[in-house]
Amino acid sequence: MPLLRKYYSQLIFLFVGILVGFSISRLPIQFDDKISPIALATFFLTIVLALYLEYKVRPSLSNTRNEKDILIESISDIKEKLNELHALYMSVRELNPLPEEKQTEILTKLREVSNLISLLKSADKYCKTYQRLAVPDKIIKAYLKYKKSLTGNKFKDPNFTFDRLDWKTQENAYRQHMTALNESIFDYNKAR
């Protein structure tokens, strides 16, 4: 009984096969006795191709898609955190001087963005089914540029204030960082 339960689907197929074979032999159909080698080769090639597609190509494509989704999701998290950081910067950039706790808050947000990029870098390293890209490097470069534009002058000075003349540079650095992130989504999507 346990054997029957284990192989019941195979047994059903066997039974159905016998029935179909028996029924076909009863039908008034004439089969050609000669077997064409080309037709036989085509038959076997089709089976081999079907097996290859099912067990090799499909899982590989599916893995690659899953990996891309993980990486793209990581980039979305970075974008969200970067937006929070930039919103904070926008809300405090006119303060003169910028209180030290706000400076620390900005540094904390920068650290959060940085850590998300670091996670992306690790994920990228472990996703190996698609071709290698320099996506994390591009994002890190943009992040460092943005960080430098925000804190690079006299950050953490008690009298620090965001110089109005630097606002444009900071805005540009933010936009470039966002562009790098958006482009990276397309890069991952296009990757083979």
């Binding site: 670091s118 000075d157 008690p158």
Partner: protein
């Protein structure tokens, strides 16, 4: 039999400050310049003399401004050969792993 020299360590939160500041001394307390002259440079030269490495533990602080990192590590690379600096210094940063890439870039670009 001679023993291999023990690795030297700087824990920034313990040996310097949990709130590292700006670039220069005149911009406030715990600046990159102060860290370089008071702690990093003497320890680096000691490590070089003893033929060992110097581990910089970056964890446990509120956060680092670019100016602090550039002045401290870029400053060290302006005083010593950047390749030698990178050979002797080792970094630990569980709080923010990307800091290591950032510092490495300042060391490499210090004399550029």
């Amino acid at each position: 039999m001679t023993q291999v020299a023990e690795q030297l360590t700087i824990r920034i939160d313990r040996d310097f400050s949990q709130t590292p500041g700006s670039r220069n001394k005149d911009e406030g307390a715990f600046s990159g310049e102060e860290f370089l002259n008071a702690i990093l440079l003497p320890k680096f030269e000691q490590a070089e003399k003893e033929g060992t490495t110097l581990l910089i533990d970056l964890d446990g602080v509120e956060g680092y401004a670019t100016s602090f990192l550039e002045e401290a590590f870029g400053g060290l690379a302006r005083l010593h050969d950047p390749k030698r600096v990178l050979k002797i210094l080792e970094f630990k940063s569980y709080d923010e792993p990307l800091l290591i890439d950032e510092i490495t870039s300042y060391i490499n670009e210090a004399t550029a």
